[in-house]
Amino acid sequence: MSDLIIFLTLLVIGYISGSIIEKKHFKSIIEREAQLRSIRVIGVKRVPERFNKVESQLVQGSVVISIDYFKKIAAGLRSFFGGRVSSYETLVERARREAILRMKQDAADWGAQAIFNQKIETASVSQGAKGQVGAVEVYAYGTALRSTKGGQP
């Protein structure tokens, strides 16, 4: 009986705090995305040759985001029936957008106008001791370009 109470308490705590944190995070992501819109992110590998008066540097951003207890249970139930695991979808989306934002922030601090060849890597950090830790890591990186004097971005 006490086990059930602990389980339900964790579930409720996870649901409430998880959704508050998620809502806050999405709000801040949307705000910062609007601020950093001026930096163009381009996925191509080859930098056009007319961009010849530029400096370049590797920029990067990474984030590790944890699941909450409610998401864990919801996903566990979902894996029984199959189908979309929407509780994880939002988690990974958050992590990815956050990593890209951090990369863009890194580029903005350096004074870049564009980022070329952006790559994203996703890894799960779940193989902790006893397999207890459930988290997703996203790492975004690319080559930032800024124009030197008299150059064109």
Partner: protein
């Protein structure tokens, strides 16, 4: 000598490659300590960012990158192009970060 330029495109934009010096790489294997793992387990109930892990992975990546650039400097390069990162878990609780690229001389 100016600081080494690192890019993940095939060239250094705005410059020309005059010499290729082969591949350089750097790696590091890190494991998280118990305190951090406990905190992370705690965070698993509430959700949210695991700042300790983010820092740990950033530090490890920086270290791998600096090993790579040291190697590049040792062979006389002034830039590393086409850099790639890869992560793999070698054992429970430890992960390897590997970074590699091509050392070049640019003008």
């Amino acid at each position: 000598m100016p600081i080494l330029t690192v890019t993940n495109v095939e060239t250094v934009p705005g410059k020309t490659i005059v010499k290729h010096l082969g591949m350089v790489s750097g790696n590091t294997v890190r494991s998280k300590h118990v305190g951090r793992d406990m905190m992370a387990g705690f965070k698993n109930v509430f959700g949210g960012e695991l700042k300790g892990y983010t820092e740990l992975l950033n530090e490890s990546r920086e270290e791998a990158t600096s090993r790579m650039t040291e190697q590049a400097e040792a062979v006389g390069a002034n830039a590393v192009v086409n850099v790639r990162f890869s992560t793999s878990s070698v054992a429970a609780g430890a992960s390897e970060l590997f970074v590699y690229g091509t050392a070049v001389v640019v003008e």
